[in-house]
């Protein structure tokens, strides 16, 4: 998710270069065609050339619309990620406050939410595994859950739209 808008932006940039080159080619062919028309008048050869020019121009315009679509979806993606991050951070802050976690417990809980296990958290915090395990146990107790996945579930429940959940359930039933 985080990388998606970057990859969309890269695609848009690459397509922009292609379209710019197409535009240069199109202009050259238009001038060339205009010169030929002035010099020899309209004929079968120039009719074919005109068709090529029209195709090239259409390519430029369609390419431009595609670039716009890529730019807009990259921006939408970025906005969605930023928004989700903001919402998640706010929710974490609220819940941790509600459960009255100490700063050390909040730190451990955040790592647990990100999916780290006890050994990893201990390494990250430079603490003994026993300490971390005890802190996690207090976090679970304060949050009223029994496991790391249940802790994560407590947050996801708030983040997932109940309406969405309901439709998904009915779809699987059907």
């Amino acid at each position: 998710m985080q990388r998606r808008h970057l990859s969309l932006q890269r695609k848009a940039a690459a397509l922009t270069m292609v379209v710019a080159m197409q535009a240069v080619a199109a202009l050259f062919f238009i001038l060339d065609l205009a010169g030929d028309l002035l010099a020899e008048g309209f004929g079968a050869h120039l009719a074919a050339e005109s068709a090529a020019v029209v195709a090239l121009l259409a390519g430029v315009v369609i390419g431009a619309f595609q670039i716009r679509a890529l730019v807009l979806s990259a921006r939408q993606d970025e906005a969605a990620v930023a928004m989700a991050r903001g919402v998640a951070a706010e929710l974490v802050r609220l819940r941790f406050g509600e459960w009255k976690l100490t700063p050390a417990e909040a730190d451990v809980a955040l790592f647990a939410l990100k999916g780290c296990d006890v050994a990893e958290i201990a390494a990250l915090r430079g603490a003994a595994s026993g300490t971390v395990r005890a802190q996690l146990a207090r976090v679970y107790a304060k949050a009223g859950v029994g496991s790391q996945s249940a802790l994560l579930g407590a947050f996801l429940e708030d983040l997932i739209d109940p309406a969405l959940h309901a439709t998904q359930c009915s779809e699987t039933e059907a």
Partner: protein
């Protein structure tokens, strides 16, 4: 996720940034202008080729002004003396108003530069002739561009004498000098706005994704 995406709040909107078309056309124009002003021989084949490419890039930017994302469109930065004056008052009173596109003063500059480029291109093409024009005078179509231009000029001088050419050259030169003046003002404006509003002004136009 789509529900969230459809209602982004202003607070979460990323910092202003130009899209790849605006960036690429800007820096291509800069390179073309510098190349033709400093490095290519006046009226040479290379000069004219770069000129044609410049024309195409400008046309692409103008097309983008019709169909691009909101901030790249002409409607986002209408040329308006009234707004420019209001912007000057903002500057004088130290007030900062966010503009999603060029600021009103910058907008006037953009249209001035585009018009000037248009005059340079039109007079240049009028002098150089169309690429295919001299073709039927010779059997070999694969002649290099520079010979083509020389042919075109010779033909022009033969037909109408050097007079029209001279007048076009005059227009070309005057328009080019005016362009230099506008570019100096433009860069001065960018420097000023960077001091007033921060590095974002230039960063937004530099290549790369942030």
């Amino acid at each position: 996720m789509t529900e969230i995406a459809s209602a982004p709040t202003p607070a979460h909107r990323p910092a202003r940034r130009w899209d790849p078309v605006v960036k690429l056309t800007h820096w291509s124009v800069v390179i073309a202008v510098i190349a033709n002003a400093l490095f290519t021989e006046e009226g040479s084949g290379t000069h004219v080729w770069i000129g044609y490419a410049l024309a195409a890039i400008l046309v692409l930017r103008l097309l983008w002004g019709l169909i691009g994302p909101a901030e790249a469109r002409f409607t986002a930065f209408p040329p308006s003396i009234g707004r420019a004056l209001a912007h000057l008052r903002d500057i004088r009173s130290g007030r900062h108003v966010e503009h999603r596109s060029h600021n009103p003063l910058g907008a006037l500059m953009v249209y001035a530069i585009w018009s000037c480029l248009g005059a340079v291109i039109a007079s240049g093409i009028a002098m150089a002739g169309l690429p295919g024009q001299a073709r039927n005078e010779r059997s070999d179509t694969a002649v290099s561009a520079s010979t083509e231009i020389e042919r075109g000029e010779d033909a022009d001088e033969g037909d109408e004498g050097g007079e029209e050419e001279g007048a076009l050259g005059e227009i070309h030169e005057v328009a080019v000098n005016l362009l230099y003046l506008l570019i100096a003002l433009h860069v001065a404006g960018v420097v000023f706005e960077t001091r007033r509003s921060g590095r974002e002004v230039v960063l937004a136009m530099l290549p790369g994704q942030r």
